[in-house]
Amino acid sequence: MRGLSKWTLLSLAMLAAVLIALPLVVTSSFAIDIFIRVLLFSFIGVAWNLMGGYAKQLSLGHAAYFGLGAYTSTILQIDFGISPWIGMVAGGVVAMLASLPIGALCFRLRGPYFTIATIATAQVLMLIFLKFRDLAWGAEGTTIPNLGNAPLMMQFDAKAAYYYIALGLLTLGLVITYRIERSWMGYYLVAIGEDEDAAEAVGVNAPRIKRNIYLLSAFLTALAGTFYTQYIYFIDPNTAFSFNVSVEAALVSIVGGIGTLWGPVIGTVLLEATSALLQSWLGSSLGGVQLTVYSLILMAVILWRPTGLIGVMTEAYQRVAQRIARRNLARA
């Protein structure tokens, strides 16, 4: 990582040390479960953010790729005995292939109608997996055969192992985002996100850039799908293609800070913490509370701080920095 300052590197190293040590210190399986959710949804958010955040192609259909990743690895494992580690990559490739025709259709539309078209594609895939029972177990879904501790088949006794996989995925997503942010691709994406016509006018090949970032975003989302299925040992169309996955991917990015490296992570931490608190106060009795609170947070962010929590934090930091600078100036 060239170009990072000494302090940034140091704080990153400290963050990494804390995250790696976390499952050794915290052993409660409830807590580890929450950490895994946070890492996983941060990763899905990061994958969404590449396309939705930087290029502002606001998809609400990323469940399509989550589901394709989940189903590809599961079908390969159960019908052909192929390890989910290979299935995971295969799922990513399937998702990429699927994103080509889906993108070709959806990118014909802009703004809200692009969003609606992406919802429709994810729903169609879910309905196909529900309807065509020969394809993959139909509506009942299937459980993943439990092989005990089988690291080669992505099955572990210790929850900590899943934690490290999720941490690895998130790190991968963040490194890719970091690299793209600082490349020509990143500038193209932001240009398209700001004003697609203007970007094309100055020679950005918008259709190609959008297609490429969609390929990458779909690939990464599919990895999360495989991981999630292996983690919960179960798959059915309603969980694999759940609209909630599409919504949460967008939500964490927007709440945290759309089009920023750390936005999806910060957004996920806030939303998952809120959700865990609500659950411990209310139990799981009151349906709808969690999403009611999420939607209020989302509205508040949109109406008052469209830059998200990152924006709030940056403003606060700048205010403090200015005050310190002014005090130093006065003293001098």
């Binding site: 539309l109 703004g111 809200p112 078209a117 309905l127 196909i128 927007i254 709808g288 009611t292 509205m299």
Partner: protein, 289 residues
């Protein structure tokens, strides 16, 4: 065979009338305010619960409660425009899309908290009645809903073409800048557009109540249908949305008849994707009217 097709077409047209009320609302808001209202289906849900409670608490027929649900939703529409949508106009796509999306999530989930996920039904004297026209069976409740939906759509058309406010609304839809120069107050026009669109959604809710169960997520299938109809009928075009909604109803009903009970939505989504592939500007093509 012919009878089965005829029956499916009639069923589709009847429910298509309800889809029309929802999609005319969506297309009106899109045409005038340039916002896609993701929460339109939730206002159908609110209309349904208003009729449900008036029917169970006071014994008021859902068709009569139309005179409550429409004004209440008109007022909600004005408030939504004035306090929420007005604040994101002129911003980029993200706030415009996710504000009404958040509103949809909020209404759906507070509905879940307040009313639980139980299905609520209202049984009226005409709920089980049906006319037999030759071999075709026409349920009275759906027929009434269809006729009233068409009457309301007709009234809207007259309003848009014969009144000053309606003309101002169409002017704002065609060219906002020039309309403002001509002395039209955009926020007032937008408030009325939202009010009318939500009143139509409320009407759809009341009209549905005699033959359709109310539950917090009920709006989802209607709003998806409306989005497809609005794309198919050319964005912002009221008559296009009406015709497309009737087509969607028939397509869905034929899908249910010939492919299977749960495939109505597949047919509808495939229609959307095919439209996008071959006629992205809608069947009417080009300009919004």
């Amino acid at each position: 065979m012919l009878e089965t097709v005829g029956q499916a077409v009639v069923n589709g047209l009847l429910i298509g009338g309800i889809y029309a009320l929802v999609s005319i609302g969506v297309t009106l808001i899109f045409g005038v305010v340039k916002i896609v209202n993701f929460a339109q289906g939730e206002f159908v849900m609110i209309g349904m619960y208003i009729s449900f409670f008036l029917a169970t608490q006071f014994g008021i027929d859902p068709l009569v409660s139309l005179f409550v649900s429409m004004p209440v939703l008109f007022v909600i529409g004005v408030l939504v425009q004035h306090f929420l949508i007005r604040r994101v106009l002129g911003l980029n796509d993200m706030p415009q899309i996710f504000l009404t999306f958040a509103l949809s999530l909020l209404l759906m989930n507070s509905g879940l908290m307040l009313f639980t996920a139980n299905y609520r039904t209202v049984h009226t004297w005409y709920s089980d009645e049906a006319l037999h026209i030759g071999p075709i069976y026409v349920p009275v409740a759906k027929l009434i809903a269809f006729v009233l939906a068409m009457v309301l759509s007709g009234l809207l058309w007259v309003f848009l073409h014969a009144t000053d406010l309606g003309k101002a609304m169409r002017a704002a839809a065609q060219n906002r800048g020039v309309a403002v120069l001509m002395g039209i107050n955009p926020n007032r026009v937008f408030c009325v557009a939202l009010g009318i669109a939500l009143a139509l959604a409320g009407a759809a809710g009341s009209l549905l109540m005699p033959f359709y169960p109310a539950y917090p997520m009920v709006g989802q299938s209607f709003v998806l249908m409306a989005f497809v109809a609005v794309v198919l009928g050319t964005l912002g075009n009221v008559i296009g949305a009406l015709v497309a909604s009737l087509m969607m109803g028939v397509a869905e009903s034929l899908g249910i008849q010939f492919v299977g009970a749960d495939s109505g939505l597949i047919v509808v989504f495939l229609m959307l994707l095919l439209t996008l592939a071959f006629r992205p500007s809608g069947l009417g093509g080009g300009r919004a009217r």
